[in-house]
Symmetry: C2
Subunit: 136 residues, 2 copies
Amino acid sequence: MGVTSFVLHPRLKADAIFIADWVLSRVLLMDDSRYSWLVLVPRHQGAVEIFDLDGSERGLLTEEIARAARALKDITGCAKINIGALGNLVPQLHVHIVARNEGDAAWPGPVWGSGTAVRYDAAAREAMLANLRARS
Amino acid sequence: MGVTSFVLHPRLKADAIFIADWVLSRVLLMDDSRYSWLVLVPRHQGAVEIFDLDGSERGLLTEEIARAARALKDITGCAKINIGALGNLVPQLHVHIVARNEGDAAWPGPVWGSGTAVRYDAAAREAMLANLRARS
């Protein structure tokens, strides 16, 4: 799977916080306290599109997306989970999983490209990471 | 899988055109000529989130997403495929697969909520449908 040579894109490294490595994906918390927002990055160096993964990797990715979505829903009690793989600016294949609620900063539109991230303060970030590590 | 009682959400019915039923999903062409844009709707009545599907359905959905993405890439030669499952306005689980290019109407932002759809004229719609039916 090219796992040994995996390097996270510098934009993702700058904008998000490491949570864990699952079987396929690196799991990140987007450093934007406006939303509870995870990013899964399959550790398959060079993958850009979903069809760059092989079938078994796609199966893993789907299960990891469902696991992340379930954890966010359980932790936040959100109204809706949004899932997106865009990559117009950051080509490294990555999947956003975002807890959404009526009245949030971008509702009902997409979060991508909407406004400016509000970084967590240290206490809120540690609380969120502890919650995610315990429940996902 | 609740297939027998499947009813397409009226908003999807109004905004998109039937292409085919694959094993799990109804495949639609979004009636918006600004983009080459498919929508997959798993025929699992009542599913809202990815974790409302069972594991075998999720496996099918992933393969159908990859198939649709590959077809769009082959037909259009686009720069990037965008994939999204939002559902903030239409709760019925559905997955967008959109061919994106630098300079398109929403680039590099997301297509959802951006501007107003430009419906296909009859000739362009039939050409696109024929192409998709032949190549996906």
